[in-house]
Amino acid sequence: MGGARTTGSGRPLVPLPEAWRDRVRSAVSQLAAAGAVMVLFVYLSFASDAFLSASNLFNIGVQSAVVAIIAIGMTIVIITAGIDLSVGSVAALSGVLGAMMVVKYGVPIPLAIIGGVAIGAIAGLVNGLLVTQAGMAPFIATLGMLSVARGLGYIVTDSVAVSGEPLEFKLLGQGKLGSLPIPILALVVVALAGHFVLTRTKLGRYAYAMGSNLDAARLSGIPVKRYLTTIYIISGILAGFAGMIAASRVNSGQPNFGIGLELDVIAATVIGGASLFGGEGKIIGTLLGALLIALIRNGSVLLDINTFYQQVIIGVIIWIAVFWDQYRRRRAASA
């Protein structure tokens, strides 16, 4: 991270040249994602007439928004060396419950959106407590929630999509502010908030510290349990919010939404330079990762590439990103 000299007493002062090298090293992994996005962008501009139009670029933004918003929460979780596998199911549960509040109980739409987000927060709280109080590995705790939230989604909807929303329900996912689609606006706000939290708040600094060395963080007096729980709540909140956007985009609460979505989210985070070993990750990298995935999907359709290749391409990019991460680490360790 860049702020080595300013992080205060919890962290030893690093001599300047090494701090710079540190900074360059972590920037390079985001540069890789940025480079891939740029190469693909330029290629698609030439390969397809339709690519470089305002409406298509907005489409790509909107298409990446759901994954990107969830991935911002995932980035913070992964920085702590945790993982949240439940995001797809939690997003679906929030989406169907939010939609049900509107359709069945006549709750005003803004309140229903807050309600959906609150559902996500509760799921995140449970995840956090399972990790910090019950001492479960994040992988297991959130794997359980993946199943529980999906099941609850089917139970409350009787496994049928919730439809019949009033037209205003579309606003969050399909509306525009001026010419800017609201999902993109929401993404920008969430990304700025995420960046602020990671770089300017205690929670952000502690996240990196806990991910680098949990015991050291605990010994240096960081209330680890409280902060970790909060971070899982943040992940749940963002999953819930994204779930409401997804429901609004198709104007119905879909209990089947987001099966396997956690994989896209984790892929975006990892491609963006976050390390599953913890201690590393940046919002800008994650945004680039989500953008890269959306670009691949968009480009494949524009160029009429068989859909199956998209999966292969994304998988290969994950390999490259992780390989790069490990290569960097080995070099750093031997330096």
Partner: protein
Amino acid sequence: MRVRLSAALAYAAAAIVLISSCSAVTVPGSGPGEGSKVKPSGPITLAVVPKAIGLDFWDSVRKGSQCAASKMTGVTLQWDGVTAETDVTGQINLLQNFLTRQVDGLVYAATDAKVLAQLTQDALSRNVPVINIDSGTNPQPETVPVFATDNVVAARKAADLLAEALGPGEHKVAFIPFRPGTVTNDERTTGFKEGLAKHPNLKLVAEQISNSDPNIALSVTENILTAHPDLDGIFAASEPGVVGAVNALNQAGKAGKIKFVGWDASPDEVKGVTSGAITALVVQNPFRMGFDAVNAMVQTVRTGHVPTSEDTGVTFVTQQNVNDRQVQAILNPSCENPPV
């Protein structure tokens, strides 16, 4: 560990007792479904397993099968399914559990034709009769009838409907299948492409899968509309694909301008027909699938007679006929007014 071991032993013992007590009433070779056990009277339990829960279509199958069971005495239904139509191993496990629990008959829709063929064999060798709904297996045993839509014929007709709506002249069309590798998807694809071949003025310019997720279908359709701004028609071969595509058309302001033929009839899809965004829907009769299959299975268990396979038929729903009584009975099936 000790506790778990003894619990496992208890289960095993219970299973042995169950199996032996059931085999006591088995009448081997007493009917055309040779070896099936026949229970002329007394309570019977049937398992009905869809490809997945979570879609309107399968819920209608549930309503139909429960309606059939409710009209007979002593028939208990166990309705259970996996949460994704791709979860083949999950479905195998579920079906195996039903076999272990010694249900009297198995009514299910195969998530994978080849893989599930073995499970049907297992069931038959345990003398549990099987009926497939919606999707059968490959090979399909002679003693296992299929109650399903003839997807090839119906999808061929979908291409005809699209051609009819578009009229003469050159037209660009897109196709949104849902899950390559499943029999239903592949049959609809075959049928649609056979249908297109009869209309050389329709050119297939894009084919992208929805993965049975409306949000993916939405993105894919947006991208197709970007790639082909002069697109004239779309055929989406499943409910999630239709829901996503209709939203994309609405958002692009192209609803009604692009002719759109869809499949199935969830409330959102029917709304699309009423509003004019959807030209026509190919509507199956899942209620009848569940209803007829359960009736047939009860008959099999009671008499040993194996019924023949049945095409449960499709209806083409358009803005003109959507309010007809017959169409409404299919769209909103109820046990009081069953569409059978």
